[in-house]
Symmetry: C2
DNA sequence: GTTGACTCTATAGTCGCTATAGGCACTACG
DNA sequence: CGTAGTGCCTATAGCGACTATAGAGTCAAC
């Protein structure tokens, strides 16, 4: 028996809007509709959405997932590129871990710059003002010196707490 | 001798547009202008921009930097909240590292599912289809089972309220 | 018949930039 | 003097993967 979008969302552990978004992006085919224009999904859609969500949880982006789905639908070439894709992701994740470990070191150095509870002369502000007292990486390739950043500066790192209750 | 925006950008290791963006966002004050409407920056702006960039390299977002600048400009309260802020970032980074290490494990399990160079029966696709063969975390709290994700799949909603509350 | 949960479409916002378009200012060269 | 090349100006749109909001229709239960 076909599912409405809310039921599908619950099954897949995602939001209703996310499913509509995937449809708009061409990852999910346009489903049947009821007389009152509600979307109706069958088993195939459930599996496809699960596949997509698992890919997302493995860090794949939507373009990569599109390619994986296309291959799944019609494996016209060898799957070797999928191995390469996963290898690339592993390398990427390793890079990110290394960057974050480096960043953590800097943050801890920063943290130790102030024991504080005062208005003037906060050691953290001073350090941010004049450069790191940490000598771990005076080298050019250090994230704080080479303009590259510990991780892409485009990524917001403020993701926290409020993200997903319910 | 005042600097033009391009010179300032070179000094700070960022893009010209980024400086204009910071101005629009209120992190940098509107500078003087030449007769031909070019921005002119003095030493104070150089230092302020360096401060901002160092904060960014430490993973702070613009809202947090705004708060830090406000404190720097006028330290009307104790700096204790800055320590808390840095602690929060350290905890955050640790969480991200743990998540990524977990993700890496999953990706490696995925990678081992296929040695492949074939069209049908790619082990990676199968795994993404039917779930992980990895037994490391059958538990509910595993990122691949609990809908939480190895890192937040909802990046944008991590928006915390302004850092310097209280 | 009214509430409340669910669904629909459409649009805008998130974050920290990046890219593009169209035009003005300045310098160097011929 | 004209022109080429660079830099600067404003304004607007785009990125990725959603999230949030508005306004309206649908449906089951009371």
């Amino acid at each position: 028996m076909p599912l409405k979008i809310g039921e599908l969302a619950r099954l897949a552990g995602c939001q209703v809007v996310t499913i509509r978004y995937y449809e708009k992006e061409g990852l999910l085919p346009p489903p049947e509709r009821t007389d009152s224009n509600y979307r109706l999904y069958g088993d195939a859609a459930v599996e496809r959405l699960h596949f997509i969500r698992r890919c997302r949880l493995h860090g794949m982006n939507l373009a990569e997932i599109r390619d994986l789905l296309a291959f799944k639908d019609n494996p016209s070439v060898s799957c070797a590129w999928i191995n390469d894709l996963v290898d690339k992701h592993i390398a990427d994740v390793e890079r990110q871990i290394a960057s974050l470990q480096h960043l953590k070191m800097h943050l801890e150095a920063l943290r130790h710059a102030c024991a504080g509870d005062h208005r003037e002369g906060c050691g953290i502000i001073d350090t941010l003002d004049h450069g790191s007292p940490c000598t771990c990486c005076e080298e050019e390739h250090c994230c704080l010196n080479d303009g590259q950043g510990p991780f892409s500066l485009r990524r917001s790192s403020g993701k926290t707490t409020s993200a997903q209750q319910k």
